[in-house]
């Protein structure tokens, strides 16, 4: 029937848009780009979650499938690495809050600390791999080791990307080009980092209890 769309037609002269979501009040403006960047990051994190969910599902199924599962002896350095990563996340979070309140000097210190700890984590992961190789455990040794290498490599590669972002922010900060107004890139990087931190803790739990 013609003209049956009554609900959205507007009466009278142009009025502000009706109640409800109208895309944030219009295009352009810092608010929109900030929100878009955060949305984009959340969407990226959703995809990464799905990928690790698929790997987890494969892991759990494989473990339950046959009786050739040799639980992997977790290198002890992994526990230290976990602490380092959590510490780096904490440092970044402290940095982020300092930036918000304009304490740029402190921001620089905490952010750099977080970045360095992040790089230390990656080194620690490399060392864990080294320990496994010394013990004769490689990617094809047994199913458990295959998954361990895949999980840690996938996580590590994502974290490496995160480190690049952290370094970029650090450089901007040291060049004094990162004020509270440029908060978005800090927020987005920190969010990414916290997610990977959480993901690592989850992976440790998986290895410990489902290994």
């Amino acid at each position: 029937m013609p003209g049956s769309l009554a609900k959205d037609a507007v009466k009278g002269p142009p009025l502000p848009p009706d109640a409800g979501d109208f895309g944030g009040g219009g295009p352009g403006g810092r608010g929109t780009s900030r929100r878009a960047s955060l949305t984009g990051m959340v969407v990226l994190l959703a995809a990464i979650t799905m990928m690790f969910a698929a790997l987890t599902s494969a892991y759990v199924v494989r473990r339950g499938m046959s009786n050739d599962w040799n639980a992997l002896p977790l290198p002890h350095v992994l526990f230290a690495n976990t602490a380092v990563l959590v510490a780096s996340s904490a440092a970044l979070e402290l940095a982020r809050r300092r930036l918000k309140s304009g304490r740029r000097g402190e921001f620089n210190r905490y952010w750099t600390a977080g970045t360095v700890l992040g790089m230390l984590f990656l080194l620690g992961q490399a060392y864990a791999w080294h320990e496994l190789k010394e013990a004769g455990i490689f990617v094809a040794t047994n199913p458990s080791s295959s998954f361990f290498y895949v999980f840690t490599a996938a996580h590590g590669i994502h974290l490496l990307g995160g480190v690049v972002a952290l370094i970029w922010v650090s450089v901007q900060a040291l060049r004094l080009q990162l004020g509270p107004g440029k908060r978005t890139v800090v927020e987005v990087s920190a969010l990414y980092w916290h997610f990977l931190d959480g993901l690592w803790v989850y992976l440790m739990v998986l290895f410990l209890f489902w290994g």
């Binding site: 009554a6 037609a9 848009p17 895309g23 295009p27 949305t39």
Partner: protein, 588 residues
Amino acid sequence: MSSPEVHSAHHAPTSFIGKYVFSKDHKVIGIQYYFLALFSVLLGMTLSLLMRFHMVHPDMKVGWFEKLWPTAAAGGIMTPELYLSLMTMHGTIMVFFVLTTAPQSGFGNYFLPIQIGAEDMAFPTLNMLSFWTTFLALVVMVAAFFVQGGAPLSGWTAYPPLSGVGRISGPGEGMGQTLWIISIAIFCGASLMGAINFIATTLDLRAKGMSLMRMPLTCWTWFVTAILGLFGFAVLLAAGILLLLDRTAGTSFFIPAGLVVSDQILNHKGGSPLLWQHLFWFFGHPEVYIAILPGMGVTSQLLSTFSRKPIFGYRAMIYAILAIGFLGFLVWGHHMFMSGMSPYSAFAFSVLTMTIGVPSAIKTFNWIGTLWGGKIRFTTAMMFALGFVSLFVTGGLSGIFLGQPSLDLYFHDTYFVVGHFHMIMGVAAIFGMFAGTYYWFPKMFGRMMNETIGKIHFYLTFLGVYAIFTPMHFLGIAGNPRRYADFTNFEFMNSLMPVHTFMTHAAYFTAAVQLLFLFNLFWSLKKGAKATDNPWESTTLEWTIPSPPPFDNFGGHHPVVYHGAYEYSVPGAAKDYVMQTDPAAVSH
């Protein structure tokens, strides 16, 4: 990632490279994707013609086969392995580089920002990267033809162990398969980048007044399709990495112990080919909705425009799109009914599969409701939209048969399946792309396509595709197996060969008809009649701007939206359509 407001502060790029090659303009990127898909569809179609030829002339010597494939077509006769590799690449190229690309990344990139009133996508640089990553994926995929052993032959579904044990399992399974996996992995990355852009743009960049419930249905389908792609391709990437490791690092994610291939005992331990199937089809089913949803959006848009009526049941259409998207993640097992699964699991998947029929039927009835009582304008775009509805019904109906495990017992791996997915993907989705082309060509290129040639293209293609794919259903019922290079060894197939011959001739005919389209497309680019801003008298935002649009879409203005997307034949309005941005209020 560059932010939107920075984009508008820049001037349009001036160098050739900046304007046409490494462009960050969503319009250019959309056209780049479109032509990438066009190249891919011609390549995929050529492969299918080679396949159809071989099926009816398996023993005919063809001189240039031998020139192209000295080993695989020695003596000018295609080996079964060559046939299977052509089949693999046909499916792969069509599904990934045509059906996932043109409707979403092609038209979506071009028109999503404009239809919601934005100057560009949320992340223009990422957008550019996503195109060139897709391009790289295509290069790697095509490279598989040229390496030693040639292209892989494990099907677009790449089931292990065949795809997982390496060169030992046959020609094409060496470097060819590895390149295939790498190409798909690259494609997953590109899709992810695109999905981020589509979702962020839809959620955050809508113009003032463009509420979600005023968005054109095209935008809704692009949005939901992006979410499907986001989750689906992430899982495919995981699966692809595991398969690559099985092939190159000696792991055994998918390869069971004790396999003997080509007289050699393989050194793998206890993996599961079924695991690949689950992971692949968890992606694979949402993938087919990725292929069809944008076509549904375009169809809704066109049926409304060319009936001069609002879309019937706009809200229901949105809920149906959401339902199809959501349910699409729950039905992957219907591709695995014959894999040995428990009948209870099969039952669950079957019921869920039939549930998807509900929102699909709602959409179909709403399309009919839109047409009902309308003043129909039979433009070529409209014809293809109508054709979409027809083919969606035909293709969808055979899906209901296949969704019954008891029937799939018989139909699995027969031509019934081939007929089903070609109807729905190979034809309905393609018709959606044709419809979008004829509809949006004036806006993209500032010229009209020729309507007469367009109509001939439509009628002959419509006839042709029904001629090619309808008989496949009957062949399937008669027991014709799929993925066989030839049937000359089977006596029961003798009586079916004339049907194959008919389908092959129909395929040649339909392929030839596409030359009309290609001619129309390229000729109109230069010589078509100049298009006005709104040649179709359509209501959505892209028709408020010049054809083709300026660099920043709205010429520096920020559009304000006052109406929904389908205000046609509104009582009391001056014309039989009210633009979304028309402030002159029309009351109800």
